[in-house]
């Protein structure tokens, strides 16, 4: 397929004498910070920090920041920069998989050193605990949270004879079984209608998001083969078998299509889904509502800020973070870019209580705020990232290949155990 040798091979097949040696000599060792001059570099991804607030930091805190928006696989880029000890940012956004950094917690500054504990009670406790490594070192400072809710379209619910008022929908769809029953009703009324755009994202992950137990306990025992996970698995399989999934890849153009054309008139998702739903389906504005998710309160996503050990002025970095994540500014971020605060006091801020035209004038903080406060503390382990793809893979096999669900479950658990053995955990 390639001429003689591959393109990469072609490039690397050889090498550069004089020029190379000169450059070799010139290049220094040790880590270079990603920041230029005196500014502290901040790595974040689109929509994770309000650009307005970032712009205010110098004026309000007296710390100059150099924000850098990183595209693609954020964590991979960050880990690669740590491994390369080059261009490591001073401050970095950390996603909800904060626990994967725990084995390398020494790469971060312990934020307790700067008095983080003093403001602890302003933040949701379960959220705060997530950023603390097993050895007590606090590497992630709470940013936003991802309380979940049921999103549904009133126009289509009405057509299918389902209730449309949030309180009624909530009462009618209290459990996942209710949700499945509603799905069948939708399907009977409008052929081809689904209750999930993608099984893993909208069902399996969401049931797990409501569970207080995840895949490992704090003692590093694997608990992903227990009833709480099997429950999420079984509900997913039911959705698949009832043809209630649209089988799209989440947040792709395909997903936009099913959100617009009404093929998927409801789904369970985190508060930040609106950031995608709005631009994906502008024509559906005003038709959506949210209410408590079937199965209860859950959290999916939400992020943190950390300071790396390469940061030359960690105290300044901490002060900048404190400013960005204060109660007032979290409320501002919600209004600005729909980041849901991890500071419960913000929920009463008038700017959070504005009626939202996308949801037909609903005050959604009532739904998401109470969900956030009801989330049960749960433990993410450093290995969850390695564990969870197996469920997704095998559920995918059930969905697209028609694989026997029990066989898939066994293969899934087997694969996870092999992976954990390889990692040296069990």
């Amino acid at each position: 397929m390639t001429p003689l040798i591959t393109r990469r091979g072609f490039l690397k097949g050889g090498a550069a004498g004089v020029a190379g040696a000169a450059l070799l000599g010139a290049a220094g060792c040790g880590a270079e910070s990603a920041s230029a001059g005196s500014a502290l570099s901040v790595w974040y991804w689109t929509g994770s920090i309000s650009d307005t607030l970032l712009g205010n930091v110098q004026k309000k805190v007296g710390v100059k920041l150099e924000p850098q928006k990183i595209g693609g696989d954020f964590k991979s880029k960050f880990m690669t920069s740590l491994a390369g000890r080059s261009y490591v940012p001073d401050i970095t956004g950390i996603n909800s998989d904060v626990a994967t950094y725990f084995p390398d917690a020494d790469q971060f500054v312990d934020l307790r050193k700067f008095g983080a504990d003093k403001v602890k009670d302003q933040y949701l406790d379960w959220k705060w605990q997530q950023g603390v490594a097993n050895d007590g070192r606090m590497i992630g400072f709470p940013m936003d949270t991802g309380p979940t809710a049921l999103y549904y379209r009133t126009d289509i619910f009405k057509k299918a004879g389902l209730p449309t008022d949030p309180a009624e929908v909530e009462a009618h769809l209290g459990t996942w079984d209710d949700y499945l029953a509603a799905g069948k009703k939708l399907q009977a009324a409008i052929a081809g209608t689904c209750i999930a755009s993608a099984t893993v994202n909208d069902i399996f992950d969401q049931v797990m998001a409501q569970s207080s137990k995840q895949y490992m306990d704090r003692q590093n025992h694997f608990i992903g083969d227990q009833a709480h996970v099997r429950n999420a698995w079984d509900i997913s399989v039911k959705v698949i078998k009832s043809n209630l999934t649209a089988k799209t890849v989440s947040l792709t153009a395909d997903w936009n299509a099913v959100m617009t054309n009404g093929k998927v008139p409801c789904f369970v998702g985190a508060v930040w889904m609106k950031n995608f739903l709005g631009p994906a389906a502008p024509k559906t504005k005003g038709m959506w509502r949210v209410c408590r998710a079937p199965g209860g309160a859950g959290n999916s996503g939400g992020s943190f800020l950390g300071v790396t050990k390469y940061c030359k002025r960690p105290e300044d970095a901490y002060n900048a973070i404190r400013y960005l994540e204060s109660t007032k500014n979290q409320a501002f971020s919600y209004q600005d870019i729909n980041l849901f605060p991890s500071t419960p006091a913000s929920y009463k801020d008038p700017i959070m209580r504005k009626p939202d035209p996308f949801y037909g004038g609903q005050v959604t903080v009532d739904i998401f705020g109470s969900a956030a406060e009801q989330v049960k503390p749960f433990y993410f382990s450093p290995y969850d990232d390695a564990i969870t793809p197996a469920y997704a893979t095998e559920l995918g096999n059930v969905e697209s290949l028609g694989k026997d669900p029990d066989q898939a479950w066994n293969d899934c658990i087997g694969q996870i155990k092999r992976t954990l053995q390889h990692t040296g955990v069990i």
């Binding site: 591959t6 072609f10 050889g14 550069a16 220094g28 491994a83 390369g84 995608f276």
Partner: protein, 275 residues
């Protein structure tokens, strides 16, 4: 007569369909880049050019540092190409026209390096780059690719046929040393071969993806391909904007290629036959 004519029409028909398939993705790319995302999602999709190209380009420029990435890519491609042309042709000239102790062994080693897939060394090369502090910088892309076995091998084949020994002999009698022979006798004859290897290298470097994706951790120093994949990953709900970026990254290269296409294709074929 009619049968021959029929055959010819059929042949053209097959070729035209093939050419249309070859070119269609470019056409579709332009259609998408000139329309809005909404136009693309409607059914049936719009298949004609729209008027939103400038707006889409503006969005691209707003979302990624397009010109920065463009300049980085150009820099890497130009410098790598220049080094490859010089080092490859020089080594090829030596292998083609001189004898020296160890030549056979050295040439076999050169050929043996073909056998090693580059992916084998992706991980250790990254670690090496980390140690010498090149991660995130452009030398990490340029230096490992500054000379290559393929170019030397291909050039050597070419030189054996193109550079005549009597010219070299005459040059030697005039007292030319090795480097002058290379510059004044070999280089003028090698122009077409250098043009081929130059375009080949330029296109390859311009389109390279895996290694830049791995090693370019500095967000201010991306190549176009990496920037483009980030654009796609970050904003894949805004298709027409992503397509505008795709178009902007593709057009310059196609133009470079079209400038030397005829020559390039002829050389490509000749190279394969000899190899």
């Amino acid at each position: 007569m009619t049968q021959a004519r029929f055959a010819r029409v059929l042949a053209h028909l097959v070729l035209i369909i093939g050419a249309l398939i070859s070119l269609f993705p470019f056409y579709w790319m332009i259609v998408m880049a000139t329309n809005t995302t909404g136009d693309i999602f409607q059914f049936p999709p719009k298949l004609t050019f729209g008027s939103h190209l400038l707006g889409n380009i503006r969005n691209v420029l707003h979302n990624i540092d397009f010109f920065g990435s463009f300049l980085n890519t150009l820099l890497v491609a130009v410098v790598t190409t220049a080094l490859v042309l010089f080092f490859d042709s020089l080594a090829a000239f030596t292998f083609a026209k001189y004898d020296f102790p160890g030549k056979r062994v050295l040439f076999i080693i050169l050929l043996a390096t073909f056998m090693v897939p580059s992916q084998l060394s992706t991980v250790p090369l990254f670690v090496l780059m980390a140690h010498i502090g090149w991660v995130g910088s452009l030398p990490a892309l340029i230096v490992p690719g500054a000379v290559n076995a393929f170019g030397i091998f291909w050039m050597r084949q070419y030189i054996q046929g193109a550079v005549h020994d009597d010219l070299l002999d005459a040059g030697r009698l005039d007292g030319c040393n090795f480097f002058r022979l290379y510059r004044q006798v070999a280089i003028p004859v090698l122009r077409p071969a250098l043009a081929f290897l130059g375009i080949f290298t330029f296109v390859t470097v311009w389109n390279d993806y895996l290694w830049p994706l791995v090693v370019l951790v500095n967000p201010h120093r991306l190549t176009l391909q990496v920037a483009l994949s980030q654009l796609n990953g970050l904003y894949n709900t805004d298709y027409s904007m992503v397509m505008a970026g795709t178009l902007m990254a593709t057009v310059p290269l196609i133009l470079v290629f079209l400038l030397g296409a005829r020559q390039f294709i002829a050389n490509l074929a000749a190279g394969a036959i000899k190899a």
